[in-house]
Symmetry: C2
Subunit: 252 residues, 2 copies
């Protein structure tokens, strides 16, 4: 039984996709079997791994036209497979209107393949709509990438409220697995203030390892590579390897 | 008759709100009468100006429960008024299902007050859903903040496709007013590559003035101040004043 992790935060550009790609690939390097599911119609996780999203992809799985196993592809990175997406995924918002149990489509789709992986990561779009709710209904835990800036902190209470709603109506096992500070710059008061505030709110759930702002992380996706393959000596690669180890330790 | 400008880009965290607040407040300093409408349920433009969104706000205007004039408030910044939003705005997605002419609600709401302003800026959420489409149907032009990074460029063709659809079905006058490069760091190849690519795609529509990455821009919203009021000597303030002048020149 895989541990299913939703990477969600409705604030845009906080590092959800960057964390999805680099944490899952780091766990692959640590010899775990990992599946990354791109639940964002932007398809950034798909493109960032150098994959294409020819049919069948997640849209077809969510509307029952294909099985998850038909849409999953291997990547050239150790231990990592991907279930890709593209713009067509937007269509689920329309397909789901008035549909009974729309929230559980992803959960049921993943059921069939979850014995083949240790971890399944779900990269979310910047919203709290149908796709993100589907991931929260399917997940054992949510991991919240939190950009160390003002607006990112503003949206947290809304995200927590959504998690509480999903816990009471759809998925009582869903836990807040952790808060990961991203684009952290310890030279600025802003980052330190946000970190202190996040710890006040979430206490021990804030990961000790932070991901620093590092241009190599922004360059890697244009080469279709996770950071460990793009530049293993970079601060970004060191950070995500440390985050992966802390992630495993917190689970133990 | 005001010029209505939509600040849209479905990619998250590219500087839509930062541009909405700082371009509109810079135009206010240049003695224009400006209204900023927060069309994002996150309410970042509202909070970033230090405003609150007690009812009536944009949700009530969009569903016909209040007039725009009832929801507009003055700010303490010269020439700038705001039509605020909060989380409740998410409700329009449900209200609009099956509703005739849902796309034109914002356009009709703004009709009544557009003679009181020179410019009306519409800050969009990170999506191409109902709210963004409403802004494109109401706008004379779209201004696209483009983060100088890989994923931001990826999403551009989808955004342009949406603009073309709105031009043919809803609003033939809608133009692509300009592309503004944000968080630009001229020391990195990534920024230069993205700028070159944007110019190939959009030619003369790419603003000559770029907004550099500047921590003061990220600090200002936590004080509820536009950059010109927070730190007028900062690179961020100088940049947005130059962008405001170029914006006016391009219109002339
Ligand atoms: N630690 C970092 N240092 C430098 N750049 C980063 C870092 N993390 C992410 N980035 C860059 O910042 C931008 C935003 O990150 P990313 O796209 O992962 O965020 P997101 O939350 O997935 O965005 P969206 O809300 O659009 O899905 C990207 O261009 C990415 O390459
Ligand atoms: N030029 C800049 N230099 C430094 N920080 C910036 C700059 N522009 C924006 N920021 C910061 O980057 C983050 C993202 O910017 P912003 O929230 O304006 O983007 P957005 O496109 O409105 O995001 P969303 O997609 O969530 O609406 C914010 O924390 C903001 O303060
Ligand atoms: Mg993403
Ligand atoms: Mg915004």
């Amino acid at each position: 039984m895989a541990t299913v992790v939703s990477l969600a935060n409705q604030k845009g550009g906080v590092g959800k996709t960057t964390t999805a790609i680099n944490l899952s690939s780091a766990l692959g390097v640590l010899e775990k079997r990992v599946l990354l599911v791109d639940c964002d119609p932007q398809g950034n996780a798909t493109r960032g791994l150098g994959c294409r999203a020819d049919a069948p992809h997640l849209y077809h799985v969510m509307v029952g036209e294909a099985k998850a196993a038909d849409a999953i592809r291997p990547t050239k990175f150790p231990g990592l497979s991907v279930l890709p997406s593209d713009r067509e995924l937007v269509g689920v918002e329309v397909e789901f209107v008035g549909r009974e149990d729309w929230e559980k489509q992803l959960r049921w789709a993943l059921r069939e393949i979850d014995d083949q992986y240790d971890f399944i990561f779900l990269d979310c779009p910047p919203s709290l709509g149908h796709l993100t709710v589907n991931t929260l209904a399917a997940a054992d835990m949510i991991l919240v990438p939190l950009q160390s800036e003002y607006y990112a902190l503003e949206g947290i209470s809304e995200l927590v409220a959504t998690v509480r709603r999903v816990q009471s109506h759809l998925n009582p096992q869903l836990e807040i697995g952790g808060i990961l500070l991203t684009m952290y710059d310890d030279r600025t008061n802003l980052s330190q203030d946000v970190a202190a505030e996040a710890r006040r709110f979430f206490e021990g759930k804030v990961f000790k390892n932070k991901v620093p702002r590092n241009i190599r992380l922004a360059e890697a996706p244009s080469h279709g590579l996770p950071i460990l393959q793009y530049d293993i000596k970079s601060r970004g690669a060191i950070a995500y390897l440390a985050v992966a180890r802390e992630f495993l330790k917190r689970l133990a």
